[in-house]
Symmetry: C2
Subunit: 349 residues, 2 copies
Amino acid sequence: MQVNDRKMKVLQAIVDDYVTTNEPVGSKTLIERHNFPVSSATLRNDMAELERMGLIEKPHTSAGRIPSDRGYREYVDSLMTVDQLTEEEREDISRRIDTTVYEARDLLKNASAALSETTGLVSLVMTPRLAGSSLLQLKLLMIEPGKALVVMVLSAGVVKDKVVRIPNFLTPEQLKDISDSVEKSLNGKPLDEITLVTLATSVKTTKIPDSLLNQVLYETYTAIKQADRLDVYLEGEHNMLKLPDFSELRRAQNLLGTLSHDGMVAGYVNEIEKEKTGGDDTYMIRIGQEIALEGLEDCSFITTTYKIGDTISGNIGVIGPKRMDYSKVISQIDFVRYKINEQIKNING
Amino acid sequence: MQVNDRKMKVLQAIVDDYVTTNEPVGSKTLIERHNFPVSSATLRNDMAELERMGLIEKPHTSAGRIPSDRGYREYVDSLMTVDQLTEEEREDISRRIDTTVYEARDLLKNASAALSETTGLVSLVMTPRLAGSSLLQLKLLMIEPGKALVVMVLSAGVVKDKVVRIPNFLTPEQLKDISDSVEKSLNGKPLDEITLVTLATSVKTTKIPDSLLNQVLYETYTAIKQADRLDVYLEGEHNMLKLPDFSELRRAQNLLGTLSHDGMVAGYVNEIEKEKTGGDDTYMIRIGQEIALEGLEDCSFITTTYKIGDTISGNIGVIGPKRMDYSKVISQIDFVRYKINEQIKNING
DNA sequence: GATTAGCACTCTTGTTCTTCGAGTGCCAAA
DNA sequence: TTTGGCACTCGAAGAACAAGAGTGCTAATC
């Protein structure tokens, strides 16, 4: 139907205009900027209809229209076209990421910084989801009497460690004995299948009294459990203050206040990930009210998945105002993800 | 001299009032709130004199006075009385810090969070200065062909590690050989005395070709050098948005923008530390223009030193508006430092 | 039925003007 | 040295007003 076609074009034009100008867009400006082959009165009718459909709304009677959350959703789902970055843009991002790093963690930090700088928004990087990855090595190193370092090597070369307490009089030899035994019994096991019970029953060493052994095993277990904790790194929060969307102090306060609770953000992104339907290279987009976190009603999340090897993955993305250039940001995230995956191969290759 | 006494009392009253009310204080309100045994006209004369001395200033002709940077300085140096925290306050802080952690790093993060929450300001924690600490252990662990983990144990049980590249065909045994040799040659050396040259000349192992050895040594060296990098953790930036001092968006932008450059802040705190004159439990205070960082003209730094063992120390403190309750904040920092030192002893004892 | 011109109406934004009040500086007297 | 008194300054807050952008609706037109 031609009419509906035009209505959608109008919605698209409204989103495009509003995103760039940050001003409610009226029928007249719409005509001026996009060359619709109809009059402003017709557009007014269309806009009234779009409003009835819940896709746009007006801040007050005599202002233009702005997209509603559902309007953005429609835009993102059906109207938007994602285009390639220019060569310069790609090079710019590459330059920011391509420093020689040998640890996934550093690479992700680089990528996060690059993402926040190029988008001018808040970048978000989740640490890799390690629960499903396998424990390839585990070593207990004596640091000093009573303290040991648990070093774990997981699939795809991810390394984690933690300092733990051990009985004071345990000798380095005894520790090594336990270490070897633990390593042997856990070798290749996925992290989330390791429980204190399996650990205690499978480790056998006759030379060390059970009470000591159990204490070490317990500490080792806590180290393993801690290894798969999900963290989130946010960067570029101050960028939000530059956006007119948060020029009202209250909004900025709410936003940054909520973002300071890393755990909440991490949890939410994790949830989004679970609800994901598409493949690894699809985007998860949450707009405005769709976001269940207080203070983020005027924001959108765009996240996607990066991979470390075949088994380990994590999320990367941005948090920005609803009123953002979705298309551009998506291609930026896409390219950053591409760079991450590429570099991870370098590190692990 | 009695007169000067009163003038200083006036300055003190102005600072106290301004800090609590955030409003320029005039002669009349001064009389009302503090019971000066003189008339408002007399205070006006005193204030004119204080202004001539550069200790207070007026935002505009018909407003009251506010302390100048030098006024705050005078207040902090000579007028302020630091009083003990109440039992509840101490308990509150204790509760926030006293979780069982076995790594200094985690303890410091806890402390930082506690500090930012109790002060309502931005807390600042520097990683410990490790340059002067000694290398007690160094191990190279094979992660997978071509990748090794350098684990370093420094004085006072501080552990650092880094993943490095090694030649692909190096065997675990060869790596162990190098590792033992490196450890023997560096044992007990202060980090900052270790150079690539000393490393290369002192390590002897006949079984491995020089070119391979040197590559490993170089990577080990970078790991050692990276270990003593100073980082800074800032927490509670969003608190600043709640303060009326930064209700002007521009100020908030500048502030958060600058604080996002971790390196700059770290460098500056490091500088302050160098200029320090008193002992470890004294405070370093920098007020307004004294701070050489752009965007922090309306802020003050208060930092002090925590210790890990006898040789290692670091800084902890807050960044807040010039207009803050110096006395209160100082006693809060003091108590947090006390808790850190206490807990570190627990960890290392 | 879709489109358009026209027009009355609404509501924000910016400007100007005014008033109010807190605070100052200074003078002359105590 | 202190004080009462007074003229003066300046920002904050509010009222009044005009301008402008945009809408909805109606009646005519394609």
